[in-house]
């Protein structure tokens, strides 16, 4: 208990805050993974990633709400809520591939310096944010409040257990209540989807032929070419995966913070995502996951245990700054050459 007092946590509901950190962290990790994949395979820092995140949310919203999203608020769902998730994933992936062809492919072909690619990605981000503003207006939109189950799970008043599912729900609710955790079905969904995608991705990268090819291209594109790997195809797949991750993060964020979809929803995450991958080590996939959870933990800690909650962003950036100066390769990255 001494240590809790020292950390200023004696009054905090630790399990609840941990759960908070976990679901927020899985969102951050999901978002940062996309950054990390493109960076590791192509060496590009794709600053339009947050715009894809935002468009992913819009794709999802449009898929389940239909065209009513264009003009005003989404009043009722046209399709089931779950359709939003695959729509966001596929839409985000395709968008990322298109961005690659327009903004990065010509530069790659010309062997332009890396910084030009950074600048062109900034251009794409500006275009995408403004297009979203033109198409959907700057107004904040979201799913109909009633359709999104994001109130914390709790033990129902009337206990009528008829089906096995009810028993499971009740058990879950009891566990949460006993441990003091308040978590909504959507937050559980965020965690599950994030874990599924992360496990799937690490399986693909570590175990399959495609993953091997990706790692080869990441190591050296010319070597990949000599080995008969279609590098352009690998780039396309990398961009698709990155966009899909951004889109999924976008729609999950939109569901969890409903209503939260506006053209600027990616802005705060853009820099936070950078912090995550810098913390974990630029280009390191495992680092992005660890970094995401770490940043979420730090944020939640600052918000609950200190009186400087309003400064949580500043703390995160200070950390980011500090890590860049002291250990630019991140906590899990390899040593780098880009220092004098």
């Amino acid at each position: 208990m001494e240590i809790l007092h020292f950390l200023g946590l004696e009054n905090a509901n630790i399990p609840a805050q941990l759960m908070n950190a976990i679901w927020l962290g899985s969102l951050y990790s999901l978002f940062a993974l996309g950054y990390a994949i493109v960076f590791s395979v192509l060496g590009i820092l794709n600053l339009s990633h947050s715009a894809i995140f935002m468009w992913g949310a819009y794709f999802g919203l449009a898929a389940s709400c239909g065209t009513s999203v264009y003009d005003g608020k989404c009043v009722e769902l046209n399709h089931a809520l779950w359709t939003a998730i695959p729509a966001a994933i596929i839409g985000g992936g395709i968008l990322a591939v298109v961005i690659d062809r327009i903004a990065f492919y010509p530069l790659r072909k010309r062997n332009a310096p890396r910084l030009s690619q950074l600048i062109s990605s900034i251009g794409v981000a500006i275009i995408l944010v403004n297009l979203a503003q033109l198409r959907f207006t700057a107004e904040r939109k979201g799913f109909p409040i009633a359709d999104v189950p994001n109130t914390p799970i709790n033990v129902p008043n009337g206990l009528d257990i008829e089906q096995p599912l009810d028993v499971a729900r009740l058990a879950l609710a009891l566990v949460f209540q006993e441990s003091g955790v308040s978590i909504s079905p959507i937050q559980i969904l965020v965690i599950i989807v994030a874990i599924l995608l992360m496990v799937g991705l690490s399986y693909v990268v570590a175990r399959t032929r495609l993953g091997k090819a990706m790692r080869t291209v990441a190591f050296n594109a010319r070597v990949g070419n000599l080995l008969g790997i279609n590098t352009e195809l690998i780039y396309m797949i990398a961009f698709f995966i990155s966009g899909a991750l951004a889109g999924s993060a976008g729609i999950l964020f939109a569901l969890a913070r409903n209503p939260a979809v506006d053209p600027f929803m990616g802005d705060s995450l853009a820099l936070k995502g950078l912090t995550v991958i810098v913390l974990g080590g630029l280009g390191s996939i495992r680092g992005a996951v660890v970094g995401g959870f770490l940043i979420a933990l730090i944020e939640v800690y600052i918000n609950t245990a200190t009186k400087y909650g309003y400064l949580d962003q500043a703390f995160v950036f200070m950390l980011f700054f500090f890590i860049l100066l002291v250990r630019p390769q991140g906590i899990l990255g390899q040593p780098i050459e880009d220092r004098a």
Binding site: L115, Y310, F317, D338
Partner: protein, 456 residues
């Protein structure tokens, strides 16, 4: 000392004001009112501020942060202490420069993308600190350790340091009712002095050292150039310029808020430099002026100004990596650069024609062109298709294959459009018409440039 400086500067400023008057009137007729011109000049200064670091091979995005520092110093000095523009400018630049030293020393050890993201982080920290400055100030004032240090500093900012709540930067609301001291003449004179300085810098020992560092840091170091020193000098100079632009900005707009100096502003500043071109100090000035003026000139496209900025940035970086100034530099014409240049001119023309054909249709039910839409849109689509086909099937360096058809298409287009206007088929000559004309002329020009007649 101020009196002497004032009496020296005042005649120059008066002269500049007189000279500028007709020019400003002229510009106002095309939609560039005086505030817009002031913003153009400020952004030119900002373009130079990032050019100084880029010219030294450092990709720093910290300038928006330094601009914010300058703006807030200027605003606080004028509102709380009744400072003049000169004093505000001096202290704004000084504070930005002094803050840049401890930031630059560690950060400039990083390179490339690492430097870029570290400086993005710096900009965000500055923005957040300004946003929460008032709360933080109280916190520091009341703390036992930092109190003695914070008090005298805070005394410079507010009269009553012991008040329960301090109101210095006023959080997200920002500082309002800043006196308007900035005049166009000030900016013009500042920019002229700056240009002279840059011109001299280019040929000085320091300028050459910076260029050497950009080319290769290690080689420069091995030639006895103090890399760390020059990089920091460039960084501090860039910060001071950004601070100056911030002061001008604060004293021109009456109101400032931290939101205006975030990541978006940093990106805008970068866009000025990239658009103008980094090969030459004129580039960023030209870029700052142009990119600020474009949304004002294209009133019909006002709604799309964000998209236009993005598209310009993208097109320039993809098709004209040297920026606008690379069009003026003779080296472009050497080493087969002629064909590359022709290709870019043609592309620019094709893009313009294409944009006019696609965009206006959505803007104003096709009325932007001032003529029956569908008749011409089909014809133009055919032309654009032909041009794209020609442009992408040409594989060889030799431009001979496509220069004649291009010239033909371009000249026909221009003649057709002028004829349409003369015959009276066009009701009124809107922007779209001119853009169309320019696009076609560029296409023809591309053909002419690449025409392989002898050694040209």
């Amino acid at each position: 000392m101020w009196g002497l400086l004032d009496s020296l500067l005042q005649p120059i400023l008066d002269l500049a004001t007189q000279l500028l008057e007709p020019l400003l009137e002229r510009l106002a007729t095309v939609g560039l009112s005086e505030p817009v011109v002031q913003f153009m000049l400020m952004n030119a200064i900002l373009g130079v501020s990032i050019y100084l670091t880029l010219n030294c091979g450092m990709f720093s995005l910290a300038n928006a942060g330094f601009m914010a520092i300058g703006a807030y110093v200027g605003a606080i000095l004028t509102t709380q202490h009744g400072a003049t523009l000169g004093e505000a400018l001096l202290y704004g630049m000084l504070v930005a420069g002094i803050i840049a030293i401890p930031v630059g020393l560690p950060v400039l050890r990083l390179r490339n993308i690492y430097l870029a993201i570290a400086t993005i982080g710096f900009g965000e920290i500055v923005r957040l600190i300004i946003l929460h400055f008032d709360t933080l100030a109280v916190e520091f004032r009341d703390s036992k350790i930092f109190g003695p240090i914070a008090r005298p500093i805070l005394k410079l900012m507010v009269e009553d340091v012991d008040a329960r709540r301090l109101e210095i930067t006023l959080g997200a609301r920002g500082i309002t009712r800043i006196p308007v001291y900035t005049e166009t003449a000030h900016l013009v004179v500042f920019l002229l002095v700056l240009s002279y300085f840059l011109y001299r810098l280019h040929h000085s020992r320091m300028g050459r050292a910076m260029a050497a560092i950009r080319q290769d840091e290690r080689v420069a170091a091995s030639q006895g150039i103090n890399v760390v020193y020059y990089k920091n000098v460039a960084f501090v100079m860039g910060a001071m310029l950004a601070g100056a632009a911030g002061v001008f900005n604060a004293l021109a707009t009456r109101t400032i808020e931290p939101k205006a100096y975030g990541f978006d502003k940093a990106v805008d500043i970068l866009a000025y430099a990239v658009l103008g071109g980094l090969g030459n100090w004129l580039g960023p000035i030209l870029g700052g002026l142009t990119l600020t003026a474009i949304p004002e000139l294209l009133r019909e496209l006002r709604e799309y100004s964000g998209v236009v900025t993005g598209v310009i940035l993208l097109l320039i970086i993809v098709y004209l990596p040297g920026g606008l100034t690379s069009l003026m530099i003779p080296s472009f014409w050497r080493n087969g650069g002629r064909y590359e240049f022709a290709k870019r001119v043609t592309t620019a023309g094709v893009v313009l024609v294409g944009l006019v054909n696609v965009l206006p249709y959505q803007i104003d039910n096709g009325r932007i062109l001032g003529y029956e839409f569908w008749g011409l849109i089909i014809g133009n689509m055919v032309i654009v298709g032909l041009l794209l086909w020609v442009r992408y099937t040409r594989q060889r360096q030799n431009g001979g294959h496509f220069s004649l058809p291009l010239m033909g298409v371009g000249i026909t287009g221009v003649v057709l459009f002028i004829a349409l206007a003369l015959v009276g088929k066009i009701d009124h000559l809107a922007v779209g018409y001119y853009v169309h004309l320019i696009g076609m002329a560029l296409v023809g020009l591309g053909g002419w440039i690449s025409y392989p007649a002898e050694e040209r």
